[in-house]
């Protein structure tokens, strides 16, 4: 009798633990635990020049721009697609925003960045869905096109400092609170879209099995197009934050914008890894913060940037591997 009660209690406890392990609270605990782990690690090694409350706010400020881009990336990555033109879009949208800000102040800067970004997304989505070529190939071609256009746009900027935000009257997004406000709006919007619209469900369904999604009556092409538009809308917001953060943008060619794709993508990896806990937005934001934390921690230890990149990449792989292990025998695409 006693044994039976013990077994029943044990089974119930196991179920409770198992349920907790699948809940969003466990996901939050895991993310915050990781952030705390790295904070403690670097704080012990470098107690005086790392991790104070003021510095933590600085780290967060640096990371939010990438988190906004990471949110956008999530929409297409969950559908199994990729976009190499993110960096080129950031460059072009920023330069359009800077150019328009010369004439229309904040309206020009904000609308220039966001509208240009969204239009590019529509163009990408249109080409991808119509040409039926893999997204990687389409977007590599578009990256080259957008870089060329950006180089043309910068020649239109007749200011003495082309591509740079020299006017102090349009620099609100360069610092708190407006950069945080813009990012928070983007995060809330992302959360709203995923939680309260059918888009999130459809994106996941398409990502899980496109053919099944199609047979369920989901217009796959339409939602892939919407995915690209949403991605680049968020990239437009990222462009606004990035150009404000650095007070300017540099036009590049020859795939020089490629490296800009990867920092937002790192956040997206966190989002995808923590999707099972139902907290992709928080995972992207905290994930980008963790990456910035590691970067700053290594600089505090005077580790050269090259080794810093190595450590950041290795930690990212380790975290995603540990949190997103596939089932035994499952096929990884």
């Amino acid at each position: 009798m006693f044994r039976l009660a013990f077994l029943t209690t044990g089974k119930a406890m196991n179920e409770t633990i198992s349920t907790f392990k699948r809940s969003k609270y466990f996901g939050y605990a895991l993310l915050l635990g990781l952030a705390l782990f790295f904070w403690v690690f670097f704080k012990i090694l470098s107690p005086h020049n790392f991790g104070t409350s003021k510095l933590m706010a600085n780290y967060l400020q640096t990371s939010i721009q990438y988190a906004v881009g990471g949110c956008g990336f999530y929409f297409i990555v969950v559908m199994g697609m990729f976009d190499f033109s993110i960096g080129a879009n950031i460059v072009l949208s920023s330069l359009v925003g800077v150019l328009l800000s010369r004439h229309f102040g904040y309206y020009g800067l904000i609308l220039g960045c966001v509208l240009c970004g969204t239009l590019i997304g529509s163009f990408n989505g249109f080409l991808y869905t119509r040409l039926k070529i893999p997204s990687m190939i389409v977007t590599v071609g578009l990256m080259l096109v957008l870089e060329s256009v950006a180089n043309y746009v910068v020649t239109l900027d007749s200011a003495g400092f082309p591509g740079k935000l020299t006017n102090a009257n349009v620099l609100a997004f360069n610092h708190a609170p407006w950069n945080f406000i813009a990012a928070a709006i983007a995060f809330l919007l992302m959360g709203f879209i995923l939680r309260f619209t059918k888009l999130g469900t459809y994106f996941n369904a398409i990502g899980s099995n496109e053919f099944v999604a199609k047979s369920m009556g989901i217009n796959v092409e339409k939602y892939k197009f919407i995915g690209f538009v949403l991605l680049h809308f968020f990239v437009g917001i990222m462009a606004l934050l990035t150009v404000s953060y650095g007070k300017g943008m540099l036009a590049v060619t020859g795939m020089g914008s490629m490296s800009r794709n990867f920092k937002p993508l790192m956040g997206t990896f966190f989002g995808v890894a923590f999707k099972k806990y139902g907290i992709p937005v928080s995972a992207i934001v905290i994930g980008e913060f963790i990456i910035t934390l590691i970067f700053n921690g290594l600089v505090a230890l005077n580790v050269p940037t090259t080794i810093n990149d190595f450590v950041t990449g290795a930690v990212l792989l380790a975290i995603v591997t540990l949190t997103n292990r596939g089932l035994r025998g499952s096929v990884v695409k």
Binding site: R130, F161, H175, V243, Y245, G246, K247, M249, V299, P304
Partner: protein, 375 residues
Amino acid sequence: MKKALLILFSLVLVSSLLFAGGSGEKATAAKKPLIGVSIWSSTDTLGSQVKRILDAAAKALDVNVMYVDQGHISEQVTASAETLVAAGVDGFIICNSASAEMTSVINTATRNKVYTAQFFRVIDPVANPNEHALAVASPYYVGSVHEDEVDNGINLIQILTKKGNRKIALEGWEAGDATFLLRWEGYRKGIDLWNAANPNDRAVLLDPQYGGTTSDTGRATAEAIINANPDIDALIVAGGGGDTLVGALAAIESLGLKGKIDVVSTDFLADLDEQLATGGMAAESGGHFCDPLFAFMMVYNAIKGNYQVPTDGYYEILFPYLYVASSEDYTAYAKYFVDELPYNAEELRAMGNMSFAELNATAEKLSIEDVISRR
């Protein structure tokens, strides 16, 4: 739909051919020399200044000019030489990233009988003996125009230490870049010289962190450096085309440290006047955007047959840096180097007929006073 898009793309391609044909027709009517420019970026702060002076020279000499941006990425640097040769240039000037790239660049030039010269760069015969030997022997490697980067580094450290700075941080742009390595050597020598002369008042230079060539990465790296070393009193932004410096200054401003951390650099900003006046910058060395002009003139003269390119050496010009440490300094600089170019069309045409000795002397004496004396 696919057919419609294919037709559209075909039309775009055909129209581009027509445009190319149009310019080619003009070119063949009176065959102008075509000189290529392989540059890290023709649109960033320094790159756009370089483009401005080269465009003026090309116009004055009635030469066509073609730019290829290579981002200082090694494989793109070597590919840029091949691209320019394929485009039919008669010669090209190049700002490489690492000296190792010059083997491929010089071989491309020699194989295709196209003249080439380096700007902002020189091949160190000790560190890169093979590349140097190749450059010396090539009948198409005209030479190089470069600055004394080590001396520049020493001078900037002297400016900082004389201002009372003792803990100096360093932000580079790319690990292994040939110019950065020379400047870094200069900074270290400057520190050694100061410490040898002032053993009881020593200065320290921190190891470099690399901020890339964009303003946002420049700011993130500068913030990380300052957060990690809150007691620094100076920051050297070694270069990177100017955008790294723009980002670093934004970082200092956002942290409320403007005027508290002395910043020196080697790329002149368009708003340097304001930065000097408000304490954003302590001093800058620069004005070297005319360096590529002399490399351009060397290649132009080689194409015209005015310079015989030796096979036991090459032409070399050591270009002087200008140093600006106050708003007054900058006012004079801005008048003769920013608002207008330091050479007018007539002077640029004259340069196209100078002997190498005269060209070298012209480069060496370039200064604000020199420009004033010619106006």
